[in-house]
Amino acid sequence: MEIGLTTDMLQFLFMGIQRGAIYAMVAMGFNMIYNATGIINFAQGEFVVLGGLMMVSMTMALNLSLVFAFMVSVAFVTVVGILMERLTINPVRRPTVLRLIIITIAVSILLKGAAMCFWGKGSHYMRHFTDAPPLEIMGAYILPQTLWIIGMLALVVIGYVAFFNYTMTGKCMRACAINRDAARLAGINDRRMVMLSFALSAAIGAIAGIIITPIIQMDYARGALLGLKGFGAAVVGGLGNSMGAVVAGLLLGIIEAGSGGYISSHYMDAIALVIMLGVLFVRPGGLFGSSEMVRLKEF
Protein backbone atom coordinates (compact mmCIF):
# COMPACT_ATOMS: atom_id res chain seq x y z
CA MET A 1 0.00 0.00 0.00
CA GLU A 2 2.70 2.40 1.03
CA ILE A 3 4.76 1.51 -2.02
CA GLY A 4 1.72 2.04 -4.23
CA LEU A 5 1.29 5.48 -2.78
CA THR A 6 4.84 6.55 -3.48
CA THR A 7 4.68 5.14 -6.98
CA ASP A 8 1.57 7.18 -7.62
CA MET A 9 3.20 10.21 -6.18
CA LEU A 10 6.25 9.71 -8.32
CA GLN A 11 4.07 9.35 -11.38
CA PHE A 12 2.28 12.59 -10.62
CA LEU A 13 5.62 14.23 -9.94
CA PHE A 14 6.86 13.30 -13.41
CA MET A 15 3.66 14.50 -14.99
CA GLY A 16 3.79 17.68 -12.94
CA ILE A 17 7.35 18.47 -13.93
CA GLN A 18 6.46 17.91 -17.56
CA ARG A 19 3.52 20.36 -17.35
CA GLY A 20 5.35 22.72 -15.04
CA ALA A 21 8.35 23.05 -17.33
CA ILE A 22 6.04 24.45 -19.99
CA TYR A 23 4.41 26.90 -17.57
CA ALA A 24 7.87 27.94 -16.44
CA MET A 25 8.96 28.71 -19.99
CA VAL A 26 5.77 30.59 -20.81
CA ALA A 27 6.28 32.57 -17.60
CA MET A 28 9.84 33.41 -18.59
CA GLY A 29 8.46 34.72 -21.87
CA PHE A 30 5.99 36.94 -20.00
CA ASN A 31 8.79 38.23 -17.78
CA MET A 32 11.07 39.13 -20.68
CA ILE A 33 8.54 41.49 -22.19
CA TYR A 34 7.29 42.71 -18.84
CA ASN A 35 10.78 43.69 -17.73
CA ALA A 36 11.49 45.53 -20.94
CA THR A 37 8.15 47.31 -21.33
CA GLY A 38 5.87 46.82 -18.34
CA ILE A 39 3.43 45.12 -20.74
CA ILE A 40 1.81 41.76 -20.13
CA ASN A 41 1.65 40.20 -23.56
CA PHE A 42 -1.71 38.51 -23.96
CA ALA A 43 -0.43 36.82 -27.13
CA GLN A 44 2.21 34.86 -25.21
CA GLY A 45 0.17 31.64 -25.38
CA GLU A 46 -0.14 32.09 -29.13
CA PHE A 47 3.64 31.95 -29.49
CA VAL A 48 3.54 28.51 -27.88
CA VAL A 49 0.80 27.32 -30.22
CA LEU A 50 2.55 28.67 -33.31
CA GLY A 51 5.82 27.01 -32.33
CA GLY A 52 4.11 23.67 -31.82
CA LEU A 53 2.06 23.79 -35.01
CA MET A 54 5.00 24.93 -37.11
CA MET A 55 7.03 22.04 -35.75
CA VAL A 56 4.22 19.65 -36.67
CA SER A 57 4.26 20.88 -40.26
CA MET A 58 8.02 20.82 -40.48
CA THR A 59 8.43 17.29 -39.17
CA MET A 60 5.22 15.50 -40.13
CA ALA A 61 4.41 17.15 -43.46
CA LEU A 62 7.81 18.18 -44.76
CA ASN A 63 9.73 15.38 -43.06
CA LEU A 64 12.59 17.63 -42.06
CA SER A 65 15.10 16.45 -39.49
CA LEU A 66 14.25 17.28 -35.88
CA VAL A 67 17.09 19.73 -35.38
CA PHE A 68 16.45 21.60 -38.60
CA ALA A 69 12.69 21.69 -38.04
CA PHE A 70 13.29 22.93 -34.52
CA MET A 71 15.44 25.79 -35.73
CA VAL A 72 13.03 26.77 -38.50
CA SER A 73 10.08 26.75 -36.11
CA VAL A 74 11.81 28.84 -33.48
CA ALA A 75 13.05 31.28 -36.12
CA PHE A 76 9.55 31.57 -37.56
CA VAL A 77 7.94 32.42 -34.24
CA THR A 78 10.78 34.78 -33.38
CA VAL A 79 10.04 36.69 -36.57
CA VAL A 80 6.37 36.77 -35.60
CA GLY A 81 7.39 38.24 -32.24
CA ILE A 82 9.55 40.88 -33.89
CA LEU A 83 6.81 41.79 -36.34
CA MET A 84 4.35 42.09 -33.48
CA GLU A 85 6.59 44.56 -31.71
CA ARG A 86 7.46 46.55 -34.82
CA LEU A 87 3.94 46.75 -36.20
CA THR A 88 1.74 47.00 -33.13
CA ILE A 89 3.72 48.05 -30.07
CA ASN A 90 6.41 50.33 -31.45
CA PRO A 91 4.13 52.68 -33.43
CA VAL A 92 1.91 53.46 -30.42
CA ARG A 93 2.64 56.88 -29.01
CA ARG A 94 1.32 57.92 -25.60
CA PRO A 95 0.05 54.42 -24.83
CA THR A 96 -2.40 53.80 -22.01
CA VAL A 97 -2.37 50.49 -20.18
CA LEU A 98 -5.88 49.68 -21.39
CA ARG A 99 -4.91 50.34 -24.99
CA LEU A 100 -1.79 48.18 -24.77
CA ILE A 101 -3.76 45.34 -23.22
CA ILE A 102 -6.32 45.46 -26.01
CA ILE A 103 -3.61 45.66 -28.67
CA THR A 104 -1.93 42.49 -27.45
CA ILE A 105 -5.37 40.86 -27.24
CA ALA A 106 -6.01 41.86 -30.85
CA VAL A 107 -2.71 40.32 -31.88
CA SER A 108 -3.59 37.13 -30.03
CA ILE A 109 -6.95 36.97 -31.83
CA LEU A 110 -5.17 37.48 -35.16
CA LEU A 111 -2.54 34.83 -34.49
CA LYS A 112 -5.15 32.40 -33.25
CA GLY A 113 -7.29 33.05 -36.30
CA ALA A 114 -4.34 32.64 -38.61
CA ALA A 115 -3.42 29.37 -36.94
CA MET A 116 -6.98 28.14 -37.33
CA CYS A 117 -7.15 29.09 -41.01
CA PHE A 118 -3.81 27.53 -41.78
CA TRP A 119 -3.76 24.42 -39.59
CA GLY A 120 -7.48 23.86 -39.17
CA LYS A 121 -9.47 23.20 -36.02
CA GLY A 122 -8.29 19.68 -35.30
CA SER A 123 -5.42 18.71 -33.00
CA HIS A 124 -2.16 17.62 -34.56
CA TYR A 125 -0.23 14.49 -33.82
CA MET A 126 3.52 14.64 -33.76
CA ARG A 127 5.90 11.78 -33.03
CA HIS A 128 8.05 11.96 -29.92
CA PHE A 129 11.61 13.17 -30.28
CA THR A 130 12.99 9.71 -29.50
CA ASP A 131 11.29 6.40 -30.07
CA ALA A 132 12.49 4.74 -26.86
CA PRO A 133 9.91 3.11 -24.57
CA PRO A 134 9.07 4.83 -21.26
CA LEU A 135 11.65 4.39 -18.52
CA GLU A 136 10.58 2.76 -15.30
CA ILE A 137 11.71 4.38 -12.08
CA MET A 138 10.49 2.79 -8.85
CA GLY A 139 7.37 1.55 -10.54
CA ALA A 140 6.53 4.90 -12.12
CA TYR A 141 6.99 5.57 -15.81
CA ILE A 142 8.64 8.57 -17.35
CA LEU A 143 8.38 9.34 -21.06
CA PRO A 144 11.60 10.04 -22.94
CA GLN A 145 9.83 13.19 -24.17
CA THR A 146 9.54 14.34 -20.56
CA LEU A 147 13.30 14.01 -20.25
CA TRP A 148 13.61 16.12 -23.40
CA ILE A 149 11.35 18.72 -21.82
CA ILE A 150 13.37 18.79 -18.60
CA GLY A 151 16.59 19.02 -20.59
CA MET A 152 15.23 21.86 -22.72
CA LEU A 153 14.07 23.77 -19.66
CA ALA A 154 17.55 23.38 -18.18
CA LEU A 155 19.13 24.59 -21.41
CA VAL A 156 16.80 27.58 -21.63
CA VAL A 157 17.49 28.52 -18.02
CA ILE A 158 21.26 28.21 -18.51
CA GLY A 159 21.06 30.21 -21.72
CA TYR A 160 18.93 32.81 -19.98
CA VAL A 161 21.34 33.22 -17.08
CA ALA A 162 24.34 33.30 -19.40
CA PHE A 163 22.72 35.85 -21.68
CA PHE A 164 21.69 38.27 -18.97
CA ASN A 165 24.87 37.95 -16.91
CA TYR A 166 27.69 37.48 -19.37
CA THR A 167 26.75 39.23 -22.62
CA MET A 168 26.76 42.96 -23.23
CA THR A 169 23.32 42.87 -24.87
CA GLY A 170 21.88 40.97 -21.94
CA LYS A 171 23.33 43.46 -19.49
CA CYS A 172 21.92 46.32 -21.54
CA MET A 173 18.48 44.69 -21.39
CA ARG A 174 18.76 44.38 -17.64
CA ALA A 175 19.77 48.01 -17.41
CA CYS A 176 16.69 48.99 -19.42
CA ALA A 177 14.49 46.91 -17.15
CA ILE A 178 15.84 48.62 -14.03
CA ASN A 179 15.73 52.19 -15.30
CA ARG A 180 14.90 52.91 -18.89
CA ASP A 181 15.75 56.61 -18.84
CA ALA A 182 19.11 56.06 -17.22
CA ALA A 183 19.89 53.27 -19.68
CA ARG A 184 19.03 55.57 -22.56
CA LEU A 185 21.32 58.25 -21.15
CA ALA A 186 24.08 55.65 -21.04
CA GLY A 187 23.68 55.22 -24.77
CA ILE A 188 21.55 52.06 -24.84
CA ASN A 189 19.01 51.92 -27.63
CA ASP A 190 15.98 51.09 -25.53
CA ARG A 191 13.67 50.67 -28.51
CA ARG A 192 15.91 47.92 -29.82
CA MET A 193 15.90 46.27 -26.42
CA VAL A 194 12.11 46.17 -26.48
CA MET A 195 12.19 44.52 -29.89
CA LEU A 196 14.77 42.05 -28.65
CA SER A 197 12.62 41.21 -25.66
CA PHE A 198 9.72 40.33 -27.96
CA ALA A 199 12.05 38.23 -30.11
CA LEU A 200 13.44 36.29 -27.16
CA SER A 201 10.06 35.92 -25.55
CA ALA A 202 8.61 34.53 -28.78
CA ALA A 203 11.56 32.16 -29.12
CA ILE A 204 11.11 30.75 -25.61
CA GLY A 205 7.38 30.38 -26.25
CA ALA A 206 8.12 28.53 -29.47
CA ILE A 207 10.52 26.15 -27.75
CA ALA A 208 7.88 25.40 -25.12
CA GLY A 209 5.32 24.69 -27.82
CA ILE A 210 7.68 22.48 -29.79
CA ILE A 211 8.63 20.21 -26.93
CA ILE A 212 5.13 19.80 -25.51
CA THR A 213 3.36 19.13 -28.80
CA PRO A 214 4.22 15.40 -29.00
CA ILE A 215 2.51 14.95 -25.62
CA ILE A 216 -0.55 17.19 -25.80
CA GLN A 217 -1.16 17.20 -29.57
CA MET A 218 -1.34 20.90 -30.31
CA ASP A 219 -4.41 22.66 -31.65
CA TYR A 220 -5.02 26.31 -32.50
CA ALA A 221 -7.12 27.08 -29.43
CA ARG A 222 -4.66 26.03 -26.73
CA GLY A 223 -3.01 29.41 -26.44
CA ALA A 224 -5.38 31.08 -23.99
CA LEU A 225 -5.17 28.49 -21.24
CA LEU A 226 -1.44 27.87 -21.67
CA GLY A 227 -0.87 31.62 -21.54
CA LEU A 228 -3.07 32.05 -18.50
CA LYS A 229 -1.36 29.27 -16.55
CA GLY A 230 2.04 30.55 -17.60
CA PHE A 231 1.01 33.94 -16.30
CA GLY A 232 -0.04 32.20 -13.08
CA ALA A 233 3.49 30.84 -12.77
CA ALA A 234 4.92 34.30 -13.44
CA VAL A 235 2.70 35.79 -10.73
CA VAL A 236 3.43 33.12 -8.15
CA GLY A 237 7.14 33.53 -8.82
CA GLY A 238 6.86 37.30 -8.70
CA LEU A 239 6.32 39.08 -12.00
CA GLY A 240 9.64 39.96 -13.57
CA ASN A 241 11.57 37.40 -11.56
CA SER A 242 12.41 34.64 -14.03
CA MET A 243 14.12 32.25 -11.65
CA GLY A 244 11.12 32.58 -9.37
CA ALA A 245 8.97 31.80 -12.42
CA VAL A 246 10.83 28.55 -13.06
CA VAL A 247 10.35 27.35 -9.50
CA ALA A 248 6.74 28.52 -9.48
CA GLY A 249 6.03 26.92 -12.86
CA LEU A 250 7.31 23.55 -11.72
CA LEU A 251 5.44 23.91 -8.45
CA LEU A 252 2.16 24.74 -10.24
CA GLY A 253 2.63 21.82 -12.60
CA ILE A 254 3.21 19.40 -9.75
CA ILE A 255 0.28 20.70 -7.69
CA GLU A 256 -1.92 20.51 -10.76
CA ALA A 257 -0.90 16.96 -11.60
CA GLY A 258 -1.28 15.91 -7.98
CA SER A 259 -4.71 17.45 -7.58
CA GLY A 260 -5.73 15.97 -10.91
CA GLY A 261 -4.76 12.57 -9.58
CA TYR A 262 -6.00 12.81 -6.01
CA ILE A 263 -8.93 15.20 -6.18
CA SER A 264 -10.62 15.44 -9.57
CA SER A 265 -9.30 15.47 -13.09
CA HIS A 266 -12.27 17.58 -14.19
CA TYR A 267 -11.24 20.51 -12.07
CA MET A 268 -7.52 20.07 -12.68
CA ASP A 269 -7.33 22.97 -15.11
CA ALA A 270 -8.90 25.26 -12.55
CA ILE A 271 -6.39 24.50 -9.78
CA ALA A 272 -3.51 26.49 -11.23
CA LEU A 273 -5.88 29.40 -11.88
CA VAL A 274 -7.25 29.33 -8.33
CA ILE A 275 -3.69 29.42 -6.99
CA MET A 276 -2.92 32.30 -9.34
CA LEU A 277 -5.94 34.27 -8.09
CA GLY A 278 -5.05 33.48 -4.50
CA VAL A 279 -1.54 34.83 -4.93
CA LEU A 280 -2.75 37.86 -6.89
CA PHE A 281 -5.28 38.70 -4.19
CA VAL A 282 -3.13 38.07 -1.15
CA ARG A 283 0.45 38.63 -2.22
CA PRO A 284 0.52 40.17 -5.69
CA GLY A 285 4.29 40.49 -5.58
CA GLY A 286 4.64 36.72 -5.68
CA LEU A 287 5.69 34.20 -3.08
CA PHE A 288 9.41 34.72 -3.37
CA GLY A 289 9.79 38.50 -3.53
CA SER A 290 10.68 40.56 -0.47
CA SER A 291 7.71 42.44 0.86
CA GLU A 292 9.72 45.67 0.82
CA MET A 293 10.19 45.52 -2.96
CA VAL A 294 6.58 44.54 -3.40
CA ARG A 295 5.30 47.65 -1.67
CA LEU A 296 7.11 49.91 -4.10
CA LYS A 297 5.58 48.21 -7.13
CA GLU A 298 2.33 49.18 -8.77
CA PHE A 299 -0.17 46.41 -9.13
Binding site: L98, I101, I102, I109, G113, F231, M276, F281
Partner: protein, 338 residues
Amino acid sequence: MAARDIIGFCILIALVLVMPHAVGNDYYIGVLIFAAFNCLACIGLSLLMGYAGQISLGHGAFIAIGAYASGLLTTELGWSPWTAMAAGAFAAMGIAFIVGIPALRLKGHYLAMATLGFASIIHIVAVAATDITGGPAGVLNIPRLSLFGYRLDSDTRYYYFAWTAVVIGLYLAFNLIHSRVGRGLRAIHGSEDAAGAAGINTAAYKVQVFVVSAAYASVSGSLYAYYVNYIDPGPFDVMHSVLLVTMVAVGGLHHVWGAVVGAVLLSLLPEVLSFTAGYLQVIGIQYRPDYDILVYGGILLVIMLFLPEGLFAGMIAGGKSVWNLVKRVIRGKQVVRE
Protein backbone atom coordinates in the same frame (compact mmCIF):
# COMPACT_ATOMS: atom_id res chain seq x y z
CA MET B 1 -29.00 63.72 -19.50
CA ALA B 2 -27.41 65.98 -22.04
CA ALA B 3 -29.29 67.10 -25.12
CA ARG B 4 -27.20 64.99 -27.45
CA ASP B 5 -27.94 61.90 -25.38
CA ILE B 6 -31.65 62.54 -25.78
CA ILE B 7 -31.09 62.82 -29.54
CA GLY B 8 -29.17 59.56 -29.35
CA PHE B 9 -32.10 57.91 -27.57
CA CYS B 10 -34.53 59.12 -30.22
CA ILE B 11 -32.32 57.79 -33.01
CA LEU B 12 -31.91 54.45 -31.22
CA ILE B 13 -35.64 54.04 -30.60
CA ALA B 14 -36.45 55.01 -34.19
CA LEU B 15 -33.94 52.46 -35.49
CA VAL B 16 -35.29 49.77 -33.20
CA LEU B 17 -38.81 50.41 -34.50
CA VAL B 18 -37.79 50.54 -38.15
CA MET B 19 -35.36 47.64 -38.33
CA PRO B 20 -37.83 44.69 -38.27
CA HIS B 21 -39.67 46.19 -41.25
CA ALA B 22 -36.42 46.93 -43.02
CA VAL B 23 -34.95 43.44 -42.68
CA GLY B 24 -38.29 41.61 -42.76
CA ASN B 25 -36.70 38.22 -42.20
CA ASP B 26 -36.75 36.15 -39.04
CA TYR B 27 -33.12 35.18 -39.38
CA TYR B 28 -31.90 38.77 -39.36
CA ILE B 29 -34.27 39.65 -36.55
CA GLY B 30 -32.60 36.84 -34.62
CA VAL B 31 -29.22 38.40 -35.32
CA LEU B 32 -30.49 41.73 -34.01
CA ILE B 33 -31.76 40.03 -30.87
CA PHE B 34 -28.28 38.68 -30.20
CA ALA B 35 -26.95 42.17 -30.82
CA ALA B 36 -29.29 43.39 -28.08
CA PHE B 37 -27.87 40.85 -25.61
CA ASN B 38 -24.34 41.98 -26.40
CA CYS B 39 -25.41 45.60 -26.14
CA LEU B 40 -26.77 45.11 -22.67
CA ALA B 41 -23.61 43.41 -21.42
CA CYS B 42 -21.42 46.02 -23.10
CA ILE B 43 -23.31 48.93 -21.52
CA GLY B 44 -22.43 47.55 -18.11
CA LEU B 45 -18.87 46.88 -19.14
CA SER B 46 -18.59 50.40 -20.51
CA LEU B 47 -19.52 51.81 -17.09
CA LEU B 48 -16.67 49.80 -15.61
CA MET B 49 -14.05 50.32 -18.31
CA GLY B 50 -14.86 53.65 -19.86
CA TYR B 51 -15.98 55.55 -16.78
CA ALA B 52 -14.20 53.97 -13.84
CA GLY B 53 -11.20 52.96 -15.97
CA GLN B 54 -11.09 49.37 -14.69
CA ILE B 55 -10.75 46.51 -17.15
CA SER B 56 -12.55 43.20 -16.85
CA LEU B 57 -11.82 40.22 -19.04
CA GLY B 58 -14.25 38.21 -16.97
CA HIS B 59 -17.73 39.41 -17.82
CA GLY B 60 -18.50 36.30 -19.81
CA ALA B 61 -18.63 34.60 -16.42
CA PHE B 62 -21.43 36.88 -15.23
CA ILE B 63 -23.37 36.24 -18.43
CA ALA B 64 -22.95 32.54 -17.73
CA ILE B 65 -24.16 32.98 -14.15
CA GLY B 66 -27.30 34.75 -15.34
CA ALA B 67 -27.96 32.20 -18.06
CA TYR B 68 -27.41 29.18 -15.81
CA ALA B 69 -29.43 30.66 -12.94
CA SER B 70 -32.32 31.25 -15.32
CA GLY B 71 -31.94 27.87 -16.98
CA LEU B 72 -31.57 25.81 -13.84
CA LEU B 73 -34.05 27.57 -11.56
CA THR B 74 -36.83 27.41 -14.15
CA THR B 75 -36.26 23.84 -15.31
CA GLU B 76 -35.13 22.16 -12.09
CA LEU B 77 -37.08 24.10 -9.46
CA GLY B 78 -39.92 25.40 -11.59
CA TRP B 79 -39.40 29.04 -10.66
CA SER B 80 -40.98 31.71 -12.79
CA PRO B 81 -38.55 33.04 -15.41
CA TRP B 82 -38.72 36.54 -13.93
CA THR B 83 -37.87 35.40 -10.41
CA ALA B 84 -35.09 33.23 -11.80
CA MET B 85 -33.70 36.20 -13.71
CA ALA B 86 -33.72 38.34 -10.56
CA ALA B 87 -32.08 35.54 -8.60
CA GLY B 88 -29.41 35.24 -11.28
CA ALA B 89 -28.73 38.95 -11.17
CA PHE B 90 -28.42 38.86 -7.39
CA ALA B 91 -26.12 35.85 -7.58
CA ALA B 92 -23.93 37.56 -10.16
CA MET B 93 -23.84 40.72 -8.05
CA GLY B 94 -22.92 38.72 -4.96
CA ILE B 95 -20.11 36.93 -6.73
CA ALA B 96 -18.93 40.18 -8.30
CA PHE B 97 -18.85 41.69 -4.83
CA ILE B 98 -16.81 38.84 -3.35
CA VAL B 99 -14.38 38.68 -6.27
CA GLY B 100 -14.33 42.42 -6.78
CA ILE B 101 -13.08 43.35 -3.32
CA PRO B 102 -9.67 41.69 -3.73
CA ALA B 103 -9.51 41.91 -7.54
CA LEU B 104 -10.11 45.64 -7.85
CA ARG B 105 -7.21 46.38 -5.56
CA LEU B 106 -5.17 45.33 -8.57
CA LYS B 107 -4.54 47.62 -11.50
CA GLY B 108 -4.15 47.37 -15.26
CA HIS B 109 -2.55 44.17 -16.47
CA TYR B 110 -2.91 42.44 -13.13
CA LEU B 111 -6.63 43.17 -13.00
CA ALA B 112 -7.04 42.01 -16.59
CA MET B 113 -5.34 38.70 -15.87
CA ALA B 114 -7.16 38.18 -12.57
CA THR B 115 -10.57 38.67 -14.20
CA LEU B 116 -9.54 36.46 -17.13
CA GLY B 117 -8.53 33.76 -14.65
CA PHE B 118 -11.87 34.14 -12.87
CA ALA B 119 -13.80 33.76 -16.13
CA SER B 120 -11.75 30.73 -17.00
CA ILE B 121 -12.48 29.10 -13.64
CA ILE B 122 -16.22 29.69 -14.01
CA HIS B 123 -16.13 28.14 -17.48
CA ILE B 124 -14.22 25.11 -16.23
CA VAL B 125 -16.74 24.69 -13.42
CA ALA B 126 -19.65 24.97 -15.87
CA VAL B 127 -18.14 22.12 -17.90
CA ALA B 128 -17.02 19.99 -14.96
CA ALA B 129 -19.92 20.26 -12.51
CA THR B 130 -22.06 17.90 -14.57
CA ASP B 131 -24.52 17.09 -11.80
CA ILE B 132 -25.46 20.76 -11.43
CA THR B 133 -24.95 22.39 -14.81
CA GLY B 134 -25.41 19.33 -16.96
CA GLY B 135 -21.83 19.71 -18.08
CA PRO B 136 -21.19 19.86 -21.82
CA ALA B 137 -24.71 18.56 -22.44
CA GLY B 138 -26.11 21.74 -20.95
CA VAL B 139 -29.62 22.63 -19.80
CA LEU B 140 -32.56 21.87 -22.07
CA ASN B 141 -36.15 23.10 -22.34
CA ILE B 142 -35.72 26.48 -20.74
CA PRO B 143 -39.12 28.18 -20.90
CA ARG B 144 -39.93 31.32 -22.85
CA LEU B 145 -40.63 34.58 -21.09
CA SER B 146 -44.09 35.98 -20.73
CA LEU B 147 -44.86 39.64 -20.26
CA PHE B 148 -48.28 40.76 -18.97
CA GLY B 149 -49.75 37.45 -20.11
CA TYR B 150 -48.16 37.73 -23.55
CA ARG B 151 -45.88 34.84 -24.34
CA LEU B 152 -42.79 36.24 -26.06
CA ASP B 153 -42.72 33.33 -28.45
CA SER B 154 -42.22 35.01 -31.80
CA ASP B 155 -38.88 36.46 -32.78
CA THR B 156 -40.43 39.84 -33.46
CA ARG B 157 -41.96 40.02 -30.00
CA TYR B 158 -38.71 38.99 -28.39
CA TYR B 159 -36.88 41.52 -30.53
CA TYR B 160 -38.95 44.41 -29.19
CA PHE B 161 -38.65 43.07 -25.69
CA ALA B 162 -34.86 42.67 -25.82
CA TRP B 163 -34.32 46.13 -27.26
CA THR B 164 -36.67 47.62 -24.67
CA ALA B 165 -34.38 46.07 -22.10
CA VAL B 166 -31.42 47.75 -23.81
CA VAL B 167 -33.17 51.13 -23.76
CA ILE B 168 -33.98 50.72 -20.06
CA GLY B 169 -30.39 49.67 -19.42
CA LEU B 170 -29.14 52.75 -21.23
CA TYR B 171 -31.54 54.99 -19.33
CA LEU B 172 -30.23 53.67 -15.99
CA ALA B 173 -26.63 53.95 -17.17
CA PHE B 174 -27.05 57.56 -18.25
CA ASN B 175 -28.70 58.50 -14.98
CA LEU B 176 -25.83 56.93 -13.16
CA ILE B 177 -23.20 58.72 -15.23
CA HIS B 178 -24.79 62.12 -14.70
CA SER B 179 -24.94 61.76 -10.96
CA ARG B 180 -22.78 62.07 -7.90
CA VAL B 181 -21.80 58.42 -8.34
CA GLY B 182 -20.93 58.83 -12.01
CA ARG B 183 -18.76 61.82 -11.26
CA GLY B 184 -17.05 59.79 -8.58
CA LEU B 185 -16.27 57.04 -11.07
CA ARG B 186 -14.90 59.46 -13.65
CA ALA B 187 -12.83 61.09 -10.91
CA ILE B 188 -11.30 57.69 -10.09
CA HIS B 189 -10.41 57.32 -13.77
CA GLY B 190 -8.82 60.78 -13.73
CA SER B 191 -6.77 60.42 -10.55
CA GLU B 192 -7.39 57.99 -7.72
CA ASP B 193 -5.44 60.14 -5.27
CA ALA B 194 -7.38 63.27 -6.05
CA ALA B 195 -10.66 61.34 -5.90
CA GLY B 196 -9.74 60.13 -2.43
CA ALA B 197 -8.94 63.66 -1.34
CA ALA B 198 -12.45 64.67 -2.43
CA GLY B 199 -13.90 62.13 0.00
CA ILE B 200 -14.56 59.39 -2.54
CA ASN B 201 -14.10 55.87 -1.22
CA THR B 202 -12.30 54.71 -4.34
CA ALA B 203 -12.11 51.05 -3.37
CA ALA B 204 -15.83 50.85 -2.59
CA TYR B 205 -16.80 52.70 -5.77
CA LYS B 206 -14.80 50.39 -7.98
CA VAL B 207 -16.45 47.38 -6.39
CA GLN B 208 -19.89 48.98 -6.74
CA VAL B 209 -19.51 49.65 -10.45
CA PHE B 210 -18.13 46.14 -10.91
CA VAL B 211 -21.26 44.79 -9.21
CA VAL B 212 -23.52 46.96 -11.37
CA SER B 213 -21.80 45.84 -14.55
CA ALA B 214 -22.11 42.21 -13.43
CA ALA B 215 -25.86 42.75 -13.06
CA TYR B 216 -26.08 43.99 -16.66
CA ALA B 217 -24.13 40.97 -17.86
CA SER B 218 -26.26 38.58 -15.82
CA VAL B 219 -29.55 39.97 -17.15
CA SER B 220 -28.16 39.73 -20.65
CA GLY B 221 -27.32 36.08 -19.98
CA SER B 222 -30.84 35.39 -18.66
CA LEU B 223 -32.45 36.98 -21.70
CA TYR B 224 -30.20 34.84 -23.87
CA ALA B 225 -31.24 31.67 -22.05
CA TYR B 226 -34.95 32.48 -22.44
CA TYR B 227 -34.47 33.18 -26.13
CA VAL B 228 -32.50 30.12 -27.22
CA ASN B 229 -34.16 27.86 -24.59
CA TYR B 230 -31.02 25.78 -24.33
CA ILE B 231 -27.63 26.57 -22.85
CA ASP B 232 -24.29 24.80 -22.70
CA PRO B 233 -20.89 26.07 -21.56
CA GLY B 234 -19.70 26.67 -25.14
CA PRO B 235 -20.69 30.32 -25.63
CA PHE B 236 -19.43 31.32 -22.18
CA ASP B 237 -15.76 30.58 -22.73
CA VAL B 238 -12.96 33.04 -22.13
CA MET B 239 -13.18 34.19 -25.72
CA HIS B 240 -16.64 35.59 -25.10
CA SER B 241 -15.32 37.79 -22.29
CA VAL B 242 -12.61 38.98 -24.63
CA LEU B 243 -15.13 39.70 -27.38
CA LEU B 244 -17.17 41.89 -25.03
CA VAL B 245 -14.10 43.95 -24.26
CA THR B 246 -13.32 44.27 -27.95
CA MET B 247 -16.87 45.47 -28.64
CA VAL B 248 -16.55 48.19 -26.03
CA ALA B 249 -13.09 49.14 -27.27
CA VAL B 250 -14.01 49.20 -30.95
CA GLY B 251 -17.04 51.37 -30.27
CA GLY B 252 -15.12 53.66 -27.96
CA LEU B 253 -14.23 53.47 -24.31
CA HIS B 254 -15.10 56.99 -23.38
CA HIS B 255 -18.82 56.84 -23.96
CA VAL B 256 -21.69 54.45 -23.36
CA TRP B 257 -22.85 55.12 -26.90
CA GLY B 258 -19.53 53.70 -28.01
CA ALA B 259 -20.42 50.42 -26.32
CA VAL B 260 -23.78 50.37 -28.10
CA VAL B 261 -22.20 51.11 -31.49
CA GLY B 262 -19.42 48.57 -30.96
CA ALA B 263 -21.73 45.82 -29.74
CA VAL B 264 -24.17 46.24 -32.64
CA LEU B 265 -21.52 46.52 -35.34
CA LEU B 266 -19.44 43.57 -34.18
CA SER B 267 -22.57 41.45 -33.62
CA LEU B 268 -23.60 42.11 -37.20
CA LEU B 269 -20.11 41.63 -38.56
CA PRO B 270 -20.37 37.88 -39.32
CA GLU B 271 -23.56 38.53 -41.31
CA VAL B 272 -21.97 41.39 -43.18
CA LEU B 273 -18.99 39.20 -43.99
CA SER B 274 -21.04 36.26 -45.22
CA PHE B 275 -23.04 38.75 -47.27
CA THR B 276 -19.92 40.21 -48.90
CA ALA B 277 -18.49 36.71 -49.36
CA GLY B 278 -20.82 36.30 -52.33
CA TYR B 279 -19.38 39.38 -54.00
CA LEU B 280 -15.82 38.34 -53.19
CA GLN B 281 -16.48 35.07 -54.95
CA VAL B 282 -17.30 37.00 -58.11
CA ILE B 283 -13.83 38.54 -58.16
CA GLY B 284 -12.27 35.18 -57.44
CA ILE B 285 -11.69 35.28 -53.69
CA GLN B 286 -12.97 32.28 -51.82
CA TYR B 287 -14.13 33.64 -48.47
CA ARG B 288 -14.78 31.16 -45.69
CA PRO B 289 -16.52 31.95 -42.37
CA ASP B 290 -13.30 30.77 -40.72
CA TYR B 291 -11.74 34.03 -41.79
CA ASP B 292 -14.21 35.98 -39.63
CA ILE B 293 -11.92 35.81 -36.64
CA LEU B 294 -9.10 37.32 -38.68
CA VAL B 295 -11.28 40.20 -39.79
CA TYR B 296 -12.39 40.64 -36.21
CA GLY B 297 -8.83 40.77 -34.85
CA GLY B 298 -7.79 43.01 -37.72
CA ILE B 299 -10.56 45.52 -37.06
CA LEU B 300 -9.73 45.61 -33.36
CA LEU B 301 -6.04 46.11 -34.05
CA VAL B 302 -6.54 48.80 -36.68
CA ILE B 303 -8.91 50.73 -34.43
CA MET B 304 -6.61 50.50 -31.43
CA LEU B 305 -3.67 51.67 -33.52
CA PHE B 306 -5.28 54.40 -35.56
CA LEU B 307 -8.51 55.38 -33.81
CA PRO B 308 -7.93 54.63 -30.12
CA GLU B 309 -10.94 56.72 -29.12
CA GLY B 310 -13.12 54.24 -30.95
CA LEU B 311 -15.62 54.28 -33.80
CA PHE B 312 -18.22 56.37 -32.00
CA ALA B 313 -15.77 59.22 -31.36
CA GLY B 314 -14.63 58.81 -34.96
CA MET B 315 -18.21 59.07 -36.20
CA ILE B 316 -18.81 62.20 -34.12
CA ALA B 317 -15.59 63.79 -35.33
CA GLY B 318 -16.38 62.81 -38.92
CA GLY B 319 -19.89 64.19 -38.61
CA LYS B 320 -18.57 67.44 -37.20
CA SER B 321 -16.07 67.96 -39.98
CA VAL B 322 -18.72 67.25 -42.62
CA TRP B 323 -21.02 69.73 -40.90
CA ASN B 324 -18.26 72.33 -40.84
CA LEU B 325 -17.61 71.70 -44.50
CA VAL B 326 -21.28 72.17 -45.29
CA LYS B 327 -21.36 75.37 -43.26
CA ARG B 328 -18.30 76.68 -45.06
CA VAL B 329 -19.80 75.90 -48.45
CA ILE B 330 -23.03 77.68 -47.52
CA ARG B 331 -21.18 80.66 -46.12
CA GLY B 332 -18.96 80.71 -49.19
CA LYS B 333 -22.03 80.98 -51.39
CA GLN B 334 -23.35 83.85 -49.29
CA VAL B 335 -20.08 85.69 -49.71
CA VAL B 336 -20.33 85.21 -53.45
CA ARG B 337 -23.89 86.55 -53.43
CA GLU B 338 -22.88 89.63 -51.57
